[in-house]
């Protein structure tokens, strides 16, 4: 019986970086949602009450953005959209029906993954800038009230975009079997790579 061959997809540093960011996303997300809708205010109790959630939220948000920056510098080149992605996009409907073999071959990331990456990058930048603007008690007094009104609206919309992108990200990881171990173990099976990222598989096994 043959042992399954494994390919290294993420370094340990990348994985730890990812999980620290994920943790900060959960903390910043839950504390932020507490202020977003009354039905979610109970989430503030996870942080010691409304005032504590308000105090902690921006710190966790800044840590999330900083840790994203760590991943961004390593991964942005792999996420540049190219012509092959535009071709892949046309077939996205078939993939959703479960026909993964019928998709045009992709490299390390497919078009959907790249879009999630850029949606996260843009929404995090907007969250960071607008969040600083109404961070009490330090920065909010520096800005006029009409500007702050725009800032909170942009902050909320960006947060919803980030959460939506993350839901897709997590779902895709659960849906495509063998994906989660890329982040929990750092490795994926060759079969997984052949099926989901054939060009990356080729690149990784070249010259063997």
């Amino acid at each position: 019986m043959m042992a399954t061959k494994m390919l290294q997809r993420y370094q340990d540093a990348e994985r730890m970086n990812h999980w620290f960011m994920a943790l900060m996303f959960v903390f910043a997300g839950l504390s932020g949602l507490a202020f977003f809708h009354p039905s979610l205010f109970f989430l503030s109790h996870l942080f010691g009450g409304g005032a504590w959630a308000r105090i902690l939220h921006p710190f966790m948000g800044v840590l999330m953005v900083l840790s994203f920056l760590g991943l961004f510098t390593k991964l942005w080149r792999d996420n540049v959209i190219n012509d092959a992605d535009r071709e892949w996009k046309k077939h996205a409907g078939r993939m959703l029906k479960g026909d993964k073999e019928g998709m045009p071959p992709v490299g390390k990331y497919n078009y959907g993954q790249k879009m999630v990456f850029w949606a996260m990058a843009v929404s995090l930048v907007l969250l960071l800038i607008t969040g600083f603007m109404f961070w009490r008690p330090w920065f909010a007094p520096l800005f006029p009230i009409p500007v702050l009104r725009i800032a909170v609206l942009v902050h909320s919309v960006s947060a919803v975009v980030l959460i939506a992108a993350t839901i897709m990200h997590v779902y895709a990881a659960i849906w495509v079997k063998g994906t989660v171990r890329a982040m929990t173990r750092g490795t994926v099976s060759e079969g997984w790579a052949k099926l989901n990222h054939p060009l990356w598989h080729e690149e990784m096994t070249k010259g063997r």
């Binding site: 019986m1 043959m2 399954t4 507490a34 202020f35 977003f36 809708h37 009354p38 039905s39 979610l40 205010f41 503030s44 009450g49 409304g50 005032a51 959630a53 308000r54 105090i55 959703l96 029906k97 479960g98 993964k100 109404f134 009490r136 008690p137 909010a140 009230i145 009409p146 702050l148 009104r149 725009i150 909170v152 609206l153 909320s156 919309v157 919803v160 959460i163 939506a164 839901i167 897709m168 779902y171 659960i174 849906w175 495509v176 079997k177 063998g178 099976s189 079969g191 997984w192 052949k194 099926l195 989901n196």
Partner: protein, 291 residues
């Protein structure tokens, strides 16, 4: 003063179910500030400090009578002095007692994310229950009049309560009681509107052609109203001409909230059903291929 008036709460921040409002017979109240009778003595500021046990820091003299210069977390009402020329060569000294307007449709309450930190009573008073305040400053963004102030000491928002504690037991607000010229009136909203219009009519007879009542309808009317000598130009005294809750705040706290929550929950539910219908994407097991 939450417990005393807990049965007359007609609106409560960050609350989506009806509030306890069984006491429907409570009369709507209003304060009427007649600027034509105001002499700028600041007794109202002192009465407010006295009744509410507030002692603001001693500020700086900035060369005008305004002291403090603006509302603060410990100065809930401030006399503002304006030297204006409504017409060329006609210098006028206008004095306006600034403070919370107690909007019928309060933007602060709409913006507040903390359940019950801001309430509106059946009598129309908008009150901050500052022990529930989380210090986020959303009320500042919601207010069309730039009234709420957040204390640097405790990070809680404060503003005029319209002496809800006094009104609740049948007394007039402290500033009303102390005003030596009768420039500040207090009564039912209907009476104050009628009296304010009568006063505006008298001012018109005395030559203030544009005198009128400031009771802006963009926020549903207010429970603090002014008789202005130049009601056509409230901006002369730093009052917004046609105040309303900013469309940014309405969007953010209106349709965006339920839509976004539904969208996020919807995305998770859609993912669940997609998985159940389509099933996972799996590589074909090599063992099976060999078999």
């Amino acid at each position: 003063m939450g417990s005393m008036q807990s049965l007359d709460v007609v609106a409560r921040s960050a609350t989506t179910t009806p509030t306890p409002q069984v006491r429907t017979a409570a009369p709507q109240v209003a304060k009427l500030i007649d600027e034509s009778k105001c002499i700028g003595c600041k007794a109202c500021q002192v009465a407010c400090m006295n009744w509410n046990d507030l002692r603001d820091d001693i500020g700086d003299n900035v060369g005008v009578y305004d002291n403090p210069r603006d509302l603060t977390a410990s100065s809930w009402t401030v006399m503002k002095f304006f030297e204006v020329e409504p017409e060329q060569g006609s210098l006028e000294w206008l004095i306006r007692k600034d403070g919370c307007m107690h909007c019928e449709d309060p933007g602060c309450l709409k913006a507040c994310p903390s359940p019950g930190a801001i309430v509106k009573y059946a009598n129309g008073i908008v009150d901050f229950h500052s022990e529930h305040c989380i210090g986020c400053g959303y009320c500042v963004k919601g207010c069309p009049f730039d009234v709420p102030r957040i204390s640097a000491k405790d990070n809680k928002a404060y503003k005029c309560t319209l002496c809800s504690d006094r009104v609740g037991v049948g007394l007039e607000p402290a500033c009303v009681k102390t005003c030596p010229t009768g420039a500040i009136g207090f009564g039912t909203k209907d009476d104050m509107v009628a009296y304010g219009e009568k006063r505006a009519g008298e001012l018109k007879e005395r030559g203030f052609q544009k005198a009128g009542l400031y009771n802006p309808q963009g926020v549903g009317g207010t429970h603090v109203m002014y008789v202005l000598k130049h009601a056509d130009r409230p901006e002369l005294e730093d009052l917004p001409t046609d105040p309303s809750i900013s469309p940014m705040v309405s969007l953010w706290k209106g349709i965006a909230k339920p839509l976004a929550v539904a969208g996020m929950i919807g995305a998770v539910v859609a993912g669940f059903f997609h998985y159940m219908k389509v099933g996972p994407v799996e590589e074909k097991s090599e063992e099976k291929e060999q078999a």
